[in-house]
């Protein structure tokens, strides 16, 4: 790996880290979700500083083409993050339905209560006018 490429990878890793940490400071992402993205950033930076890690890993897995290990790792990490996103999305969808259902029930209860209050007010008004029993 050339020094220029190494520097680009390290700079990219640091840039991504700053973007994520800035988003967390501005409450654009929760701390737990930010951590999920910070870990890959550190992996990018470490990969940039120590490119020989790629060769060690490719030797470990008997891969002929060392960058394939990097691609495999990237795909696995992306898959895990994507899975986490979909998991959160599913939970949010269920919670949203529950909230909508509870809101509908509350609206119905308020409507019934309003009708009862109105009837009571009307009957009270009739009593005051002497129309009532």
């Amino acid at each position: 790996m050339t020094l220029a490429l190494q520097l680009i990878i390290i700079a990219l890793g640091i840039f991504l880290l700053i973007v994520i940490m800035n988003a967390a400071v501005h409450k654009k992402i929760s701390e737990s979700h930010a951590l999920l993205w910070i870990v890959p950033c550190f992996l990018i930076i470490i990969g940039g500083i120590f490119p020989q890690v790629t060769y060690i890993l490719s030797d470990m897995f008997h891969t002929e083409y060392p960058p394939a290990v990097v691609f495999a790792l990237a795909i696995i990490i992306s898959y895990l993050i994507l899975f986490q996103c979909f998991k959160s999305l599913s939970v949010l969808a269920i919670k949203n339905k529950e909230l909508a259902s509870q809101a509908a029930l509350l609206t119905e209860r308020v409507r019934v209560l309003e009708q009862t209050v109105q009837k009571l007010q009307e009957s009270c008004g009739q009593e005051e006018d002497g129309v009532g029993p």
């Binding site: 967390a24 400071v25 501005h26 409450k27 929760s30 701390e31 737990s32 930010a34 951590l35 919670k95 529950e98 909230l99 509870q102």
Partner: protein, 263 residues
């Protein structure tokens, strides 16, 4: 609202201990000068039935929102109810009811400079505290966050993970606002935030017991580790927000920490 003190108790699957604890509140005569609200965080056991049977006021979340969110619901309730002070405590029986009068007195007492504390923490690590032996990992975590708080805010807090806290209206009104409270893990990060915003924090010795039933929030190996990482990151974020002036400023000016006169 009958009294100016509200006791907030978040509860999640506490059927085994909540009844006994509520009984101890009556025993100590706490309900003569304090109102109580239990925030049922969508318990799946018989917590609600017990609360209904004992005729204790409670609010139920539609689904589990977590400890911090339960507390924030309590703060919002206290704001709407016009309370002056709140004391938050766990419903698992770890926090002894005898701590309530001590915290309440401390919240109302002026120091030599004429200031009242905004936030009173019941500590397990002061001279007169009575507590139970803690696991080594928890001790390490507490020491670690003690140091983090000291570095970030120059404040010495002996028990940064204590859930037993007394707050005056100045604090809970601030916490009740959107975005001002960590509704996942409100611990060291919130203490640093309040200290950096100029709120007066005081610790008093507390009596705590070992949990006899139910499950702790931080059990296992991965959960506490994750908690430590998130808490450290969250405390760092609070520190940066404070330096970049991103924190919402206190409702009342610094030094105006007398809720009796300000509200």
């Amino acid at each position: 609202m009958k009294h100016d003190l509200l006791i907030i108790m978040p509860a999640y699957n506490e059927e085994a201990s909540i009844g006994k604890f509520l009984g101890s509140l009556k025993e100590f005569g706490i309900l003569e000068y304090a109102d109580i609200i239990v925030i049922n965080d969508a318990s799946a056991d018989h917590t609600v039935e017990i609360l209904q049977m004992l005729n204790v006021p409670f609010i139920s979340h539609p689904y589990n929102l977590g400890y911090g969110a339960a507390l924030q619901t309590g703060y919002k309730y206290a704001v709407t109810g016009g309370y002056r002070y709140i004391i938050q405590m766990d419903s698992d029986g770890q926090h002894d009811a005898c701590n309530i009068p001590k915290i309440y007195d401390c919240l109302r007492q002026k120091d030599t400079l004429g200031n009242r504390p905004d936030l009173v923490i019941g500590s397990r690590f002061l001279k007169e505290s009575q507590s139970f032996p803690m696991p080594f990992t928890k001790k390490v975590a507490i020491r670690f966050f003690r140091r983090v708080i000291k570095i970030a805010s120059h404040q010495v807090i002996t028990d940064p993970t204590s859930g037993l806290q007394g707050l005056n209206r100045r604090v809970f009104e601030y916490y009740a606002r959107f975005g001002n409270f960590d509704n996942n893990y409100p611990d060291a990060n919130m203490l640093v935030q309040m200290s950096l915003l100029g709120y007066q924090i005081k610790e008093i010795p507390a009596t705590m017991h070992k949990r006899t039933a139910g499950k702790s929030m931080h059990f296992g190996i991965i959960e506490p580790l994750l908690y430590m990482c998130i808490m450290l990151f969250s405390t760092y974020n609070v520190f940066v927000r404070s330096k970049w002036k991103l924190l919402q400023q206190p409702i009342y000016d610094k030094g105006g920490n007398n809720p009796d006169e300000k509200i």
